[in-house]
Symmetry: C2
Subunit: 331 residues, 2 copies
């Protein structure tokens, strides 16, 4: 048996409408809270959008045992007064380079510290963290590495702004993270487990296709090392990203791995297999509380060693490890 | 209008049974001959297998306007007497590292020049070229690069053996090719056109998933340069590899791009767009004649600049460029 205090998922896609109803309960039953991504169609860019989306999430969950940490989709037009008001309803703002992932078409096309200065200085002053999907539009295996200089220039130009490198996948990002006090990162479950070999090294596995794409073995190793160490600069963020089975198992397969139902069992198994169970509480909750300066709902989640089989799908959404047996179970 | 004399496809999968009947006519109408891969289930390993498979191919084509160049699936047990007899029915022998691609389970598990000495010396003496699928079992992006030392040790140990590096995809292979007189290579259409970005850089495209996987932009550039130059050490080999649509558009998608129906139009377009049409005859036929020391059936194929739309599928097999318009047409 192992008990985790208030597990937090600091990067989650809950989507909207029918999909929201399918996936929100799967996260809320295992977590005390989650940072909810704003890349809906259209994206969440006003305080009214935020409030209305939070209402829909709370309705889909049906209890107050889970706190959705709301976010805005970054726009350089956000000014100090808007942000001051927004801060009452959000926990962070997510910046997407334009066109880099699902529903990011309205993102930032040029990340220029000068051009974003007003907004980022206001966020810095108001202590609103900036979350970034850090990829260039270069060759798929180089996109994150090529974005590192952008992270560094932002970290230097806005030393009091907390910058969160979302879902990092490379050794380059782990190295950059260590160089600047105001850089932090989320790491997903799947990037701790897989490399490009698992996606395309044998037969092609569309359900493991995601952005950023899984990288090389030495990258996974660097992610594992920093996550297992409990390092205070990294926190868990699943990037659990549901798509209907029909859009995953077709040409033009959408990017995203749906991990929500298997996260805690697999993280316990992973940390346990490396003799690092003592560091799981930091990775899955405590580091996030410090980085985001938040106090989550008190919610203990207990797992016991008991085999169960992951369903083949949840209302047409295929989870990671579908049909496989896991060793730990949330009780 | 452009006329090609006896185009040859020096690496082709014709499969068997129903699939053979679908795809064989598509190659035979545009080509004078093709090297036919032996990785059936079970693989083609006896002279009787070769003859029976050739009969099935000829029946599927229904005329004698196309010559299937038959091959054997490499086994280290092949001795001089067997090979001497086999030579009357085959053009080359294909070596697969075990488990590296479709139906290669019975391949060679350790490529040791000493262990393969007897067979390779016999092939060398009998002037039977050795075709190799050159990949290690390492990380998917490194497999071909890691195999280069094997090519080099074979090239040095058997200097009179013609070794054909099949479907090369990397700059490393192009560089190795130039270093040894007895190394040659085939290059596919799709590896001249795509990189990993086209497979997994945007949405995931299972119909472009193949082995070896498409590599980096600088690799594609190296392949293009040597192919367009008409260099005598490289020849066209499509590796056109049909799979039923149902097995491509599903988790565990099979590796292979089905290019047979679009090869000549796209090669003409590619060479033309680089101002290298004069070198196409060498790449698509003349180099292969010299490397394999063969005289193909005389067969002129003419293309004219006339738009046509590639069918969405051929009896359930989806071709590259399905539904797209091509500028050149075989008449």
């Amino acid at each position: 048996m192992i008990t985790i205090n208030s597990p937090l998922d600091m990067h989650l896609h809950l989507r909207d409408d029918d999909m929201l109803k399918i996936v929100a309960p799967l996260s809320s039953q295992d977590f005390a809270g989650a940072v909810v991504m704003p890349n809906l169609v259209p994206p969440v860019t006003t305080i009214e959008d935020v409030k209305a989306y939070r209402d829909r999430i709370e309705k889909a969950i049906g209890n107050d045992d889970f706190e959705p940490f709301m976010t805005l989709f970054f726009k350089k037009e956000y000014d100090y007064n808007f942000l001051k008001e927004a801060k009452k309803s959000i926990k962070s703002i997510k910046l997407y380079p334009a066109g880099i992932t699902t529903n990011s078409e309205g993102g930032v096309s040029q990340i220029d510290t000068d051009e974003l200065k007003e907004t980022l200085n206001a966020m810095s002053e108001l202590q609103i963290p900036l979350c970034i999907h850090g990829e260039s539009n270069g060759f798929v295996m180089d996109r994150e590495k090529e974005f590192v200089p952008v992270y560094e220039s932002l970290a230097k130009a806005f030393p009091n702004l907390k910058i969160i490198m979302e879902h990092i996948t490379t050794k380059d990002s782990v190295d950059a993270l260590k160089k600047y006090d105001n850089l932090y990162a989320t790491i997903t479950l799947h990037h701790l487990l897989i490399t490009l070999d698992d996606v395309a090294g044998g037969l092609l596995q569309p359900h493991l296709f995601c952005k950023p794409i899984a990288k090389r073995p030495e990258d996974r190793e660097a992610l594992l090392n920093i996550a297992l160490s409990g390092d205070k600069k990294v926190m868990f963020g699943s990037d659990s990203a549901p798509h209907p089975k029909s859009s995953k198992e077709a040409p033009g397969c959408a990017a995203g791995v749906f991990t929500a139902p298997v996260i805690l069992p697999k993280l316990v198994e992973l940390f346990d297999s490396h003799g690092k169970l003592d560091n799981l509480q930091a990775f899955i909750s405590d580091n996030a509380r410090e980085i985001y300066n938040l106090t989550p709902i008190k919610k203990d989640i207990t797992l016991k060693k008991e085999q169960w089989e992951v369903p083949s799908d949840y209302d047409g959404v295929v989870p990671m490890f579908a049909g496989e047996k896991l060793e730990w179970r949330v009780i």
